[in-house]
């Protein structure tokens, strides 16, 4: 989806402002929002691609105006509402108005360490041949999916070179749509900055993206 999350190459946001000795969280609500978001994945049953898709579906004006954890909270509320776990009215009221739904599991304190250590590996066993090799010239396809995708706009239609092969990984486009993992070969593709941004770009700069096989075509 060509949403506001796809920021590469936009202008007008001003300089990057780093905060010296920045704390991990800037307010207590950020701590709780972070932890609630991580903890709700188990009972909610959604995957990381669905979480990202929920955040990206915010109206662009809202996405750009909200702080990072405000976006997380909005995404979490949307995922819960869609599944009938918590209605917005219940958050407004600060109490449950409907009975709890049966959920697949709850993240208990005893399981936290194990769940974080396990993480969410996305590599899968190959079931299709690897079609691209290191050194191949490829074009990022000019696609504009309505759903979630991880091919940023600024590389679409441009030609680069495969530099790494990472094995077969869960395809976010399918996983976010609830259509299964549909794993595909994943590559790193390097683009010259001048290929992406024109002749005024830095001649010594390049930008690499990680791209699934269906994002690419031979060039």
């Amino acid at each position: 989806m060509n949403g506001a999350q796809d920021l590469g190459g936009m202008m007008g946001f001003g300089p990057v402002t780093a905060e010296p000795d920045e704390p991990v969280f800037h307010a207590d609500w950020e701590r709780r929002a972070f932890a609630l978001t991580l903890a709700m994945a188990a009972p909610g049953g959604w995957n990381i691609d669905q979480s990202r898709a929920a955040r990206e579906s915010l109206h662009p004006a809202q996405y750009l105006a909200k702080s990072y954890y405000e976006i997380w909270v909005a995404g979490l509320e949307k995922l819960m509402a869609e599944r009938g776990l918590v209605a917005p009215a219940e958050i407004d009221a600060g109490k449950a108005l409907e009975p709890a739904k049966a959920v697949p599991s709850v993240l208990t304190a005893a399981r936290v360490e194990r769940v974080l250590a396990r993480g969410g590996p996305t590599e899968r066993v190959a079931t299709a041949p690897q079609r691209l090799r290191v050194g191949d010239r490829v074009r990022a396809r000019n696609i504009h999916p309505l759903g979630h995708t991880r091919l940023p706009r600024y590389v679409r239609g441009h030609v680069g070179q495969v530099t790494h092969v990472h094995g077969v990984h869960v395809l976010p486009d399918a996983n976010a749509a609830g259509a299964g993992e549909k794993p595909q070969w994943l590559y790193t593709v390097r683009f010259a900055a001048q290929e992406l941004w024109g002749e005024t770009a830095d001649p010594e700069a390049s930008v690499s993206v990680d791209a699934w096989e269906s994002y690419l075509e031979p060039a």
Binding site: V24, L36, A39, R150, V207, S208, A211
Partner: protein, 206 residues
Amino acid sequence: MHDEHDHDHGSHLTDMELRVRALETVLVEKGYVDPKALDLLIETYETRIGPHNGARVVAKAWIDPDYKSRLLKDASSAIAELGFTGRQGEHMVALENTDAVHNLVVCTLCSCYPWPVLGLPPVWYKSAPYRSRAVLDPRSVLAEFGVSLPANKQIKVWDSTAEIRYLVLPERPAGAEAWNEEQLSRLVTRDSMIGTGLARSPSEVS
């Protein structure tokens, strides 16, 4: 985003404080979350996991050529040797800075960042200014961090668009040849492992 809205920061904070408190109350009441698990998640990322982990990886690579070659070949398992594994670090790649190449990591689409070695990302890394310009004009972004590189130095920008997570291996500064691993780790900053900074010089820490 966040840091540019100081004028209404106060009301945001109040609204969000209330909203998130209400949200937690409802989720606990419904039995979906365990408040002790929330505390543990926060404690983990606020106190235990952070850039000090990545600094150990870099210092070891500086001092141990065999480790460095394992790190550049298979970063996930080399980093796991030091016990840093798990969420948002499942598939690691290490990028070596040299006198000819400087690497810079960004996530233009969200905030992908190697949690087990660097902890949670700083606000600027997640912000629109960095995400929009790191790919378009990396040299000017580096200048805003006080890093100026020779014009003939290659800049390789890595946009974390999949679940591969990148750790920059900064150049080892001169003047610390006799330092041990623990001392060297104090030269390794968070920004030097993202690529928006260089490692400190020994005179800055001694």
